[in-house]
């Protein structure tokens, strides 16, 4: 046996490894169940319905709501890192309520102006999803291939995420209460130099620029000793404005149960996360404590009205309250903290007034005395559905109608004022001069509403589900109309109508075939060209049901499946208008006729109409394997190839400039994306006392621009075509100039006169001059194309432990901003500047020479500032203990679990501590430690 293995490919090696593992875990010979029966008990959410797991032939990955209780975060998407194969989560920030994570299915496969976001449906309709809490979510399913998404027609090509909320099941009333209380703290803060180093390096920078030093030896000594807090201050604004940790808490109460007539699920959740700012509201009457809080409520009820008619009511919503000192977001304050030099001015002046200088206001004063911003957002998701069993026509037939209405509203209330602060100056006589800035005023209020969206959806379904003998048939035909209205004079509602259907046939629970289609229309497109047909077909074969595998010890279950289809993306983007088939002429340019030069309004020409404009299409192929091996291993593996075409591009390559218009976007672009994703789970629950599982996920994609009609370029290396989508372009840094001879012997760099220690760039085109023609593809994209997750869990008696690791690779982090660009834009210097070039450190320097003025040469977009963005993070670790039932019973409780959790506990990465690999500036990445209890009452 051994000898054969090496002759075969890697999959055999994998099997070999698995057999080693199995010997380690010494599989017990438990009686085998029919594998398909197991899969019958699992129901998978698919487009507009559900299917038994064995019957599914598309690429779908699902995670249960109960499985994403940790990590602990205000954002739902923050719980999905590395959990669903094929799903990439890109962090948008860590500020509570402002995370703005974006999620992608199998990466991205379009470019330019097109929308890359996937279709996200909550209970079948578009609705707010990031504000949901896991306690109200039954499952999250990612639909990835054409077979799974064909019914979403021109909205499916970027992938579809189905979020299903919990519903009641028949049984006694179940009441669950849980709470989690914790503290958040900054995972990493930017590291800046203190006053002594700042002044020392600033002197060096001045000398480099041929200017006299600013700080005398006495100044430096004073900074070093810290003996003059007013005129030689050393202020770390992060310490002044932020607190070490801020509380976060969550409370959830839910009820569920039901009988033959009515089933219900009711949930109420309150989450509150305080911002890392110090408690400015407690200190000042003109401020508030920064915080975010949200109430989620849900009531999902199912009623059997008659024997055949049932109704389903879905009602959920959120109320979000945010309060923030100084402004409605934290960006400005965090920018101030990162730019004001530590010795610029003291927090408080000798007379107790607030300090500042002519350039910068006092950030502490800003959060304490500038007023505050509060906002209130409300979402409502309502849906009513009726289902009638039509057994009298033919058994297995039913009809459903579903009406949904969702709305979102955000209003703001801002209170602002000005306050006085003083710049101080000391004369040699010792007299201190105070220069006043601003005056104290009372708060002035303003209110407003910003976003208002509503979404109305009507759906009609005809379902058929029947088994005759060895034949199983499952079918659906549906019609959908949806309208998404956004506030704003120029915003037209986004409308779709869709006829779609699916038919699945299975023979002997062994051979499965499925056809699905959508005939979808979108109002984005010209009349008579609004509708498109999107078909997909898939096949499945449950190999383990075949005789030759019936007695296999290795394969308890083995299914192979393949699909092919065409799907679309109607979020094609556009120049300045949604209806690209209309030529528009915005009013914009003036001319001044008449001897008195009166203004006359002129119309300008928008980009040319594209009367043929259409949606993007994608030919998507998928091949998948699902297997249960040796009773303990569950494996899912999918390979895909996606060819996207009809992506909007401007015909810069072909159309002459004399057309006399802004070039229209035409459906000419093409992209390709291929890759794989898989999940391997090992489950060992044979012992009652000790249970263990390990689940690994891996997702990989590789995309490229196939055609984008880019203008003809002088050098081949300037083309985007053939490269990954969003490939960065920049200069290649090849070191620092050693000395004047080196400069004289090198190509001229056009931005400024370079000096020794400045960044030296590669002359790509060898024309003896470094300019914009020398940029070439450098580094990788910001979006990782490899995401891996490892979820480990074990239970021993009442104790349990659960760990979630997630890592990414193949991405680049670009160092930019105040943390990295020492003294630029009148800023301070980060600790990275200590690695600067000086004549004596020329050999080891990793940072260019310092300059006190903006240096056009050194901060060009180049490889110098690129760093490997790979990381491994411990997203969550949780230790729990289930109280013994003997005790809980006394308190009329069925189940009590207490736990401690750490979220984002550590990150292994290549950032050298300068920043988090996901969040470079602004509100810092946070880690959270919490304790919680979950009680299920009888």
């Amino acid at each position: 046996m051994k000898f054969m293995i090496y002759k075969y490919n890697r999959s055999i090696i994998l099997i070999f490894l698995i057999s080693i593992c199995s010997s380690i875990f010494s599989v017990a010979q438990v009686p085998l169940q029919d594998s398909v029966v197991v899969k019958q008990n699992t129901v998978v959410n698919i487009a507009y319905g559900t299917q038994q797991d064995w019957m599914v032939t598309g690429a779908i990955s699902t995670i249960k709501g109960s499985d994403i209780q940790s990590p602990f975060s205000t954002s739902f998407t923050s719980r999905l890192y590395g959990r669903i194969p094929g799903l990439t989560v890109i962090t948008g920030g860590a500020e509570p309520g402002n995370e703005n994570n974006s999620i992608y299915s199998r990466g991205i496969n379009t470019f330019g102006v097109a929308g890359t976001g996937m279709l996200i449906l909550v209970d079948g309709v578009e609705a707010n999803f990031t504000d949901l809490v896991p306690e109200e979510v039954e499952s999250v399913s990612l639909l990835k291939d054409a077979s799974a998404t064909a019914m979403y027609g021109s909205r499916g090509a970027n992938g579809v995420l189905l979020v299903t909320t919990k519903r009641g099941t028949k049984g006694n009333l179940k009441v669950v209460f849980s709470t989690q209380q914790g503290f958040q703290s900054a995972e990493r803060l930017p590291q800046f130099l203190g006053s002594f180093d700042y002044a020392r390096l600033y002197n060096e920078a001045l000398v480099n620029d041929g200017k006299p030093e600013l700080y005398t030896a006495e100044d430096l000594a004073s900074y070093q000793k810290g003996d003059d807090p007013y005129f030689h201050p050393d202020v770390n604004w992060y310490k002044e404005l932020l607190r070490q940790s801020a509380p976060i808490s969550n409370y959830n109460l839910n009820f569920s149960g039901g009988n033959d007539k009515v089933r219900y699920f009711v949930s109420l959740n309150h989450i509150k996360s305080n911002s890392l700012y110090r408690k400015s509201g407690d200190e000042s009457d003109f401020s508030v404590n920064g915080n975010y809080q949200r109430v989620n409520f849900r009531s999902n009820v199912d009623i059997n009205l008659t024997k055949r008619l049932s109704a389903s009511l879905t009602f959920g919503g959120t109320v979000v309250d945010k309060a923030n000192p100084a402004s409605n977001n934290t960006d400005g304050i965090f920018n101030a903290m990162s730019i004001i030099a530590p010795n610029a001015f003291p927090v408080y002046n000798p007379n107790g007034s607030l300090g500042r200088n002519s350039l910068y206001s006092n950030p502490l004063g800003d959060i304490l005395y500038n007023g505050f911003y509060t906002s209130n957002g409300r979402t409502l998701q309502t849906s009513v559905g009726f289902t009638e069993q039509l057994d009298m026509i033919t058994p297995g037939l039913s009809a459903t109608v579903n009406i949904s209405f969702n709305s979102y509203f955000l209003s703001q209330s801002n209170k602002s004022r000005t306050y006085e602060s003083f710049a101080i100056k000391k004369y040699p006589s010792g007299v201190i001069e105070y220069t006043k800035y601003g005056i104290n005023t009372s708060l002035i209020g303003s209110e407003g509403s910003s976003d208002q969206n509503r979404n109305t959806v009507v759906q009609y379904f005809l379902n058929y589900d029947r088994t005759f003998g060895t034949h199983a048939i499952n079918g659906i035909l549906m019609y959908n109309e949806d309208e998404y209205a956004i506030s704003g004079v120029n915003n037209f509602p986004v409308k779709h109508s869709n006829i779609s259907g699916r038919a699945t046939y299975a023979n002997n629970q062994k051979y499965i075939g499925e056809l699905s289609f959508s005939y979808m229309g979108s109002d984005n497109f010209p009349k008579n060209k609004q509708f498109g047909f999107f078909p997909a077909a898939s096949l499945g074969w449950i190999v383990s049901k075949e005789d030759f595998l019936k007695d296999s010890k290795l394969f308890n279950y083995l299914k192979i499946r393949g699909s092919y289809g065409v799907i679309g993306n109607d979020k094609i983007g556009g120049y300045d208008q949604r209806f690209m088939f209309d030529q528009v002429y915005p009013y914009a340019s003036n001319y001044y006729f008449g001897t008195t030069n009166d203004t006359y309004t002129g119309i300008i020409q928008g980009s040319l109409a594209n009367p043929e404009v259409t949606w993007e299409k994608e030919k998507s192929a998928n091949f998948g394997v699902e297997a249960t091996l040796l009773n303990h291993f569950d494996l899912t593996l999918d390979l895909f190839n996606r060819d996207r075409y009809d992506i909007l591009v401007q015909p810069n390559r072909t159309d002459p400039d004399f057309m006399g218009y802004t070039k229209p976007y035409l459906n000419q672009g093409r992209a390709n994306n291929k890759g794989f994703e898989g999940k391997l789970r090992y489950n060992n629950d044979k012992s009652k006392d000790f249970k263990f599982f390990a689940e690994a996920t891996l997702s990989y994609f590789k995309n490229k621009v196939v055609y984008n009609s880019e203008a003809l370029q002088l050098y081949d290396y300037l083309y985007q075509t053939g490269l990954p989508i969003y490939q960065p372009f920049g200069l290649v840094a090849i070191g620092f100039f050693k000395d004047q001879t080196d400069i004289d012997n090198s190509p001229k760099q056009i931005w400024t006169t370079v000096k020794p220690g400045d960044v030296k760039y590669q002359d790509k085109n060898k024309d003896g001059e470094i300019d914009q023609s020398d940029i070439s593809p450098i580094g990788k994209t910001g979006m990782p194309n490899l995401t891996a997750g490892l979820h480990l869990g074990a239970q021993y008696k009442g104790f349990d432990i659960d760990m979630i690791f997630q890592g990414v690779s193949n991405c680049t982090v670009y160092y930019s901003g105040n943390n990295y660009e020492a003294f630029q834009n009148n800023g301070k210097a980060g600790t990275i500047a200590l690695n600067r070039w000086t004549p004596s450190t020329a050999e080891t320097a990793t940072y260019p020479r310092l300059s006190s003025m903006n240096n056009e040469n050194n901060y060009q977009y180049s490889t110098l500032w690129m760093h490997d963005g790979s990381y491994i993070k411990l997203r969550s670790i949780e230790l729990g203990y289930n109280l013994p039932s003997q005790i809980t019973k006394l308190a009329k409780m069925q189940n009590v679990r207490i736990f401690i959790n750490g979220t984002n506990v550590f990150s292994l990465d290549y950032m050298h501590g300068y920043q988090d690999p996901e969040i470079g500036s602004g509100y810092p990445a946070v880690k959270t430690y919490s304790v919680g209890v979950r009680v299920q009452f009888m």
Binding site: K495, Q530, Y591, F593, G594, G602, P656, P664
Partner: protein, 571 residues
């Protein structure tokens, strides 16, 4: 098949659910439904269609960013800063990649203007409720704007692609270049139509729109350029890569009749002028007539001006590109000064040449005062009064207004003295495209070439000289002598009016030493030892380069690579 039918019937059943709701979008149909809307479209067409002779900030005006007047690319002036785009000519740094960015920002914008003109011509007839006179006027304006933009391309590139209809996406875009003859004929025929249709004059509230006179002058100028040596020639300045394409850049023969046509067309402008209320400014006094033309918008000498802005602030375009830096701390581009090469073109007030000592002398102010009165109306000389902010121009060596003054005299021809940093920060730019004075010079030049220095040619040039106090040209000049005098007169009268650069090109004199090639001199003023007079020193400030391929601009490389354009020679 059946399913297709099924879907179609489904689509019908869904009715108009997906129809676009009525909205506030303006479409071409809404524009051409009423006179009010058509007028807004025409307004926008002027904005795109009328270029500016000044540096302007945005693409819908003329010039380029980092711009100062094009005079700085010729012997007229030198820019205070080395990095302004106009310097690319001085160091022969025009390339097929920077041509649009540095030299010809308006390349694409012109085609937008032309497209708008084509749309007007195609659709104006069908607008309900318009009276025929108005329809004719609009057609005349559209043709004028189209012709003006073609003229602006013709003088830069030679033969270009003629687009005389509104292109749709389905049209074949690959329109090749037309020959010089075709382009000139196209411009002239547009002008002839416009002359027929345009009014002599508009009401005061519509001043700024194209009149019959504007079309007449555009035609005259087109024919003058067409008759000039660059185009009216058996051989081009350089052979095309395939010499059979030479007709794209010159006629391929010399025909004296082209001068005759040019002379007749210029005469037509002069004859028309009284009907349009257009007169030379002669009533302000011989030392003020010239200045009056530039200081007063919409004066009676102006036939067409760019009116794309109202009053602009001293920190805004065009002032920020033209005001000397030492005069105003808010300008970015530091101004420009007259070269010594150009200074020597000014005659003395008695009509004889001024003698300048190549080494220098102690009598600078005396020499200045002897010059043609137009000199002092174009520049601010050292020691003079400029305005309330700058009561004495300290542009001498060591003076606080000398930084960037390379040529010797700050150019302030278009800058109203009222504009100052302390109390009057806004002024209306007087952006003259066509003025009657030019027509006299066009006429004198063309007539001399076709008929020799006849009396009418003398009369035309002398009218221009007289109103600024210069004596008549001496009689008995040969044709060559008269040509030299008329060219010099043109240089002086039209100084810094976006004219000389193109005159140099069409006369093919750029390669002459001191015009756009070779040594360029400036003048340094010293207050000692002879106050209130100034000592002067002549010095060479730079050597400029010029390559013959620069007589016409190249097309942008990325455009040529699209395969429909044949590139001009030498690029």
């Amino acid at each position: 098949m059946t399913s297709a039918l099924l879907f179609q019937s489904c689509e019908k059943m869904m009715g108009d659910y997906l129809d676009k709701a009525p909205g506030v979008d303006v479409t071409e149909d809404t524009i051409f439904s009423s006179k009010v809307q058509v007028e807004t479209f025409i307004t926008g067409t002027y904005r795109y269609g009328i270029h500016s002779i000044f540096p302007r900030s945005e693409a819908t005006y003329t010039g380029s960013d980092y711009g100062i007047p094009i005079a700085c690319s010729t012997d007229e002036a030198e820019a205070a800063n080395t990095w302004v785009n106009q310097q690319v000519y001085n160091n022969a740094n025009v390339t097929i990649d920077n041509v649009q960015g540095a030299i010809d920002y308006r390349f694409n914008i012109r085609f937008q203007a032309i497209r708008r003109a084509n749309i007007l011509l195609q659709r104006i007839d069908a607008v309900p409720g318009l009276d025929p006179t108005y329809i004719n006027q609009v057609k005349g304006e559209a043709r004028f704007i189209r012709a003006l933009n073609y003229f602006e391309m013709f003088k830069r590139y030679g033969g270009v692609s003629i687009i005389d209809k509104k292109f749709e996406l389905t049209d074949n875009f690959m329109v090749p270049r037309s020959t010089i003859k075709e382009v000139v004929d196209f411009i002239v025929s547009d002008c002839d139509e416009a002359i027929k249709n345009l009014p002599e004059v508009y009401n005061a509230d519509m001043r700024g729109r194209a009149t019959k006179g504007a079309a007449l002058l555009l035609k005259a100028k087109t024919l003058l350029y067409a008759a000039s040596p660059l185009f009216n020639n058996g051989t081009p300045y350089l052979n095309m890569a395939d010499p059979s394409n030479n007709t794209l850049i010159c006629y391929g023969d010399y025909d004296v009749n082209r001068w005759k046509l040019a002379a007749n067309a210029a005469k037509a402008v002069i004859d028309w002028a009284p009907a349009g209320g257009i007169f030379l400014i002669t009533d302000q006094g011989i030392d003020k007539n010239y200045r009056y033309v530039f200081e007063h918008c919409d004066n009676s000498e102006i036939i067409l001006a760019n009116k794309s802005t109202g009053q602009t602030g001293i920190w805004e375009w065009p002032w920020t590109g033209m005001l000397p830096g030492p005069f105003c701390s808010w300008t970015w581009y530091m101004g420009y000064s007259m070269t010594f090469n150009f200074l020597t073109k000014y005659e003395k007030q008695d009509g004889t040449p001024q003698t300048w000592d190549p080494v220098g002398g102690n009598d600078l102010i005396t020499k200045y005062k002897e010059l043609d009165r137009r000199f002092n109306q174009s520049v601010a000389v050292v020691g003079s009064y400029w305005n309330t902010d700058n009561t004495i121009v300290n542009s001498y060596v060591g003076g606080n207004q000398n930084s960037g003054n390379i040529g010797g005299e700050w150019i302030l021809k278009f800058i109203p003295p009222s504009l100052n940093q302390t109390s009057s920060q806004y002024a209306m730019p007087n952006d003259i495209i066509f003025r009657l004075g030019e027509a006299y010079l066009d006429y004198a030049e063309a007539l001399n070439e076709s008929d020799g220095p006849v009396a009418d040619a003398y009369a035309a040039i002398n009218i221009i000289r007289e109103r600024s106090g210069q004596p008549d040209l001496p009689t008995g000049l040969s044709q060559d002598q008269f040509r030299d005098r008329v060219r010099n007169e043109r240089a002086i009268e039209l100084f810094d009016e976006d004219q000389r650069f193109w005159d140099i090109m069409r006369w093919q004199i750029a390669e002459q030493d001191g015009v756009m090639l070779g040594s360029f001199y400036g003048l340094k003023a010293y207050p000692n030892p002879t106050a209130p007079n100034f000592r002067y020193e002549v010095y060479k400030f730079e050597s400029r380069s010029f390559n013959r391929n620069e007589y016409l601009l190249p097309f942008l490389r990325s455009e040529v690579l699209k395969g429909y354009l044949i590139q001009n020679p030498g690029w």
